[in-house]
């Protein structure tokens, strides 16, 4: 998985691409750090470039959701495609996350 960050005061954007599985945990830790540091009020995770996600990936996104809530950061996801969209549907992410 490749991860790009654009950090701004009001709205940071994280762009993820490739496959997001358990072995990407070290890369994703950056996202958690960004949220807990409260560097910006809102964080959008752009998952449109992701072509695959597994249950660990879903778990890490939920972890980000909890941290955002604990630190009063607004977390949004962009709409997913393909297998990632299917997995979001199975896990009912449209209810758990604000999806742009």
């Amino acid at each position: 998985m490749q991860l790009e960050k654009r950090i701004e005061d009001n709205q940071s954007t994280i762009t993820m691409s490739g496959g997001f599985t358990f072995s990407d945990n070290a890369v994703f830790r950056d996202v958690i750090t960004l949220i807990t540091s409260k560097a910006s009020r809102a964080v959008n995770i752009d998952v449109r470039g992701l072509n695959f996600i597994d249950s660990s990936g879903l778990g890490m996104l939920l972890l980000a959701r909890d941290e955002a809530k604990n630190h009063n950061v607004i977390l949004t996801l962009s709409r997913a495609v393909g297998q990632v969209q299917d997995m979001f549907e199975v896990a009912q992410f449209e209810i758990l996350f604000a999806i742009k």
């Binding site: 496959g19 599985t21 358990f22 072995s23 945990n25 070290a26 830790r29 958690i32 695959f52 597994d54 249950s55 660990s56 879903l58 778990g59 890490m60 939920l62 972890l63 393909g82 297998q83 299917d86 997995m87 199975v90 896990a91 009912q92 209810i95 758990l96």
Partner: protein, 647 residues
């Protein structure tokens, strides 16, 4: 030494049992030997590099590829092109180091390879990759690295990740192996992931954390049947490609069923009908040989008919040509009796007489047995037809049990909702007419409505719709009912009640379950309707006298999703003559045959057509008629309509 065995389909479509044995050599090389039932067919050293053409040709009939992937080696490049060799695409074996399996996107690579070979569509491909990914992660972490599931504690997710990383740094653990075996027949793929570490211990109680145990559910959602047995090192997956969301019958039932069948088979009552004593003797001998001793004998059709009615046999074997009454007459008469329409009748006919055979089937024989008799054939036929009877009986019994259970559940659920007498007391006490209609899509449903008397001038109305329908949704209705019983309703405002209810439901509902709700309090003294909303379809408030219709905004977070959500209380005037319509989403989300759905505006339009001085019952009847005319067939979601009118 490590061994496994699997069936492999050969070129002619038959099955060959292959047994593979690996031996670790002193210098780190591995020997792999493959046997069929009687001879060794492949023997080679495990490869650090792709096999030579010659070695490869030797492997051709059974495996695509079998070697150890070198560090940093990319799978698609080393896999040879298979498309032009169609006869080899029946199985696939891969042996990987633990660290390779963790580091490289193996699931994606294998999927790409298999997709090319099997010409898989996009959905099947994503299904396969998802299932493989979950399976491999499981084999790496819980299999080879032997990391206990308890490490999945919610707050320690990254500590858990670090633990995985440190285990992978252990050269002994990192060099363990995971063997991937894939073989397929038709639309089904059998995938076996074999690890080296400790065997699975599956009896560990899962802790309540959302970060664990999701893998299995994901695999099953993708249509995989998963077998992970205690004390085994294999995770076996069966994937029916192209059936996203479908699940197969678990194999465990097979053994139970065999046992039940055997019992039924041995106790079966068999009626033998033949005028030739010698034939009877032979038939009885054959059945005796297979422990079928419960036999009745008749010498002609007439006698057989009497014994069939008296004894009610499970199966009949009858010679078609006999004096007094022949087999044809027997069949014709027996089939006219309703209780014997499914009785298996095996007709004994001469092999050569095709007209006789045709006629036997025409008069109702279930199957034909030809003379001379072959003992094996006789037993097999008897066994097949008895099995069919056992299956039909058990299916019928199962259906009856399920129906009886649902009947009981439906009665229990009906009791939760207000009775007509209860509604009448509310109407008398508060001058509020209530019309209600509850129609679950299955026998039981996930909708709930009720009306409570709070004090002398206030009444509370609630309407809740749990996600999903059927049993799980219905169980949530029971939970909700229990919760509401214990809450001091009169002390809460509408918003407070939903806020409290939401916090309690959040801890009860499992992930993915939620409920939409509308709770309102009608104050007949202040003429006020106060209410709180959780993502419900827009309730309709109308004042017939002025022909004014208000669609109350139905948004808000569903109950059970977020434990901290606070639901505000809102207010509207609600005078004598006004009505409030609450409905579940089935009303506006059930498409008609053209795929069109009813809108809240359609409801309003239907109401406008009725005379303004109509009684509340007229409005309710109009609404039901509108829905009935719209959705002619079965509805697929639970429908609840309630109408509260101040009179």
């Amino acid at each position: 030494m490590h061994a496994f065995q699997r069936y492999c389909e050969d070129k002619e479509g038959g099955k060959t049992l292959l047994r593979c044995v690996y031996e670790e050599q002193a210098d780190g090389l591995r020997a792999a030997r493959t046997f069929t039932e009687d001879k060794e067919i492949v023997r080679l050293l495990a490869f650090r590099t792709p096999p030579t053409q010659q070695q490869y040709n030797f492997l051709l009939p059974h495996y695509d590829v079998f070697w150890e992937l070198a560090i940093g080696e990319d799978l698609p490049e080393v896999l040879p092109p298979f498309s032009h060799k169609p006869h080899r695409d029946k199985s696939f074996v891969l042996s990987l180091r633990t660290d390779t399996c963790h580091r490289l996107p193996i699931a994606a690579m294998v999927t790409k390879h298999l997709a090319q070979k099997l010409l898989l569509g996009a959905i099947a491909k994503s299904q396969l990759q998802t299932v493989l990914q979950e399976g491999l992660t499981n084999a790496v972490i819980h299999g080879n690295l032997e990391i206990h599931q308890r490490f999945h504690a919610q707050k320690d997710f990254f500590a858990y990740c670090e633990h995985v990383a440190s285990c992978l740094n252990d050269p002994m653990l990192a060099a363990r192996r995971i063997d991937v075996f894939v073989c397929w027949q038709g639309d089904a793929l059998e995938i076996c992931l074999s690890h080296v570490g400790e065997p699975f211990k599956h009896s560990i109680q899962q802790e309540n954390s959302i970060y664990q145990g999701r893998g299995m559910a994901v695999m099953q959602t993708c249509g995989a049947t998963v077998q992970m047995e205690d004390g085994q090192k294999d995770l076996c997956l069966q994937l029916n490609l192209g059936t996203m969301g479908a699940t197969s019958v678990p194999n465990k039932n097979e053994a139970l069923y065999r046992k039940a069948f055997k019992k039924a088979l041995l106790g079966a009552k068999i009626l033998l009908v033949d005028d030739q004593e010698f034939n009877i003797f032979i038939l009885q001998e054959i059945l005796d040989l297979h422990d079928l001793h419960n036999v009745i004998i008749a010498k002609n059709g007439q006698e057989a008919l009497e014994k069939t009615i008296q004894e009610q046999p499970d199966l009949v074997i009858i010679d078609m040509s006999m004096p007094v009454m022949d087999g044809y007459a027997y069949c014709t008469q027996v089939r006219q009796l309703p209780i014997f329409t499914a009785l298996p009748i095996l007709a004994l006919t001469a092999q050569t007489d095709s007209e006789q055979r045709r006629l036997a089937l025409q008069v109702g024989a279930t199957d034909l047995l030809s003379k001379p008799l072959y003992p094996i054939e006789l037993f097999e036929r008897v066994s097949i037809h008895l099995e069919k009877t056992v299956l039909l009986n058990s299916l019928e019994e199962y259906r009856k049990n399920v129906e009886a259970d649902f009947e009981a559940a439906r009665d229990m659920q009906a009791v939760l909702m207000p009775s007509e007498t209860y509604i009448a007391t509310i109407t008398t006490a508060y001058n509020i007419e209530i019309g209600a209609h509850f129609e679950p899509s299955y026998n039981i449903g996930g909708d709930f409505w009720h009306v409570y008397s709070l004090d002398q001038h206030r009444v509370a109305c609630i309407m809740i719709d749990f996600s999903g329908h059927g049993v799980s949704a219905a169980l949530n209705v029971f939970r909700l009912h229990a919760l509401l019983q214990n809450l001091p309703l009169k002390e809460y405002t509408a918003g407070e009640l939903l806020t409290v209810l939401n916090a309690q439901l959040h801890s009860l509902l499992s992930a993915g379950q939620f409920a939409t709700a509308f709770y309102s309090i009608i104050d007949t003294r202040a003429d006020i309707l106060s209410y709180a909303v959780a993502a419900t379809p827009a309730p309709l408030l109308f004042t017939p006298a002025q022909q004014r219709y208000t669609h109350i905004r139905g948004s808000g977070v569903p109950l059970g999703v977020d434990k901290d959500t606070v639901y505000p209380t809102q207010q509207m005037p609600f005078y004598k003559g006004d009505s409030l319509l609450l409905y579940s989403d089935a009303l506006i989300e059930t498409p008609n045959q053209h795929g069109v759905m009813i809108t809240p505006q359609d409801v309003e339009a239907a109401f406008r057509k009725i005379s303004y001085n109509s009684i509340p019952q007229d409005y309710f009847a109009t609404l039901l008629a509108l829905f009935r005319a719209h959705a002619a067939g079965d509805i697929t979601d639970d429908l609840t309509l309630t109408l509260y009118s101040r009179v």
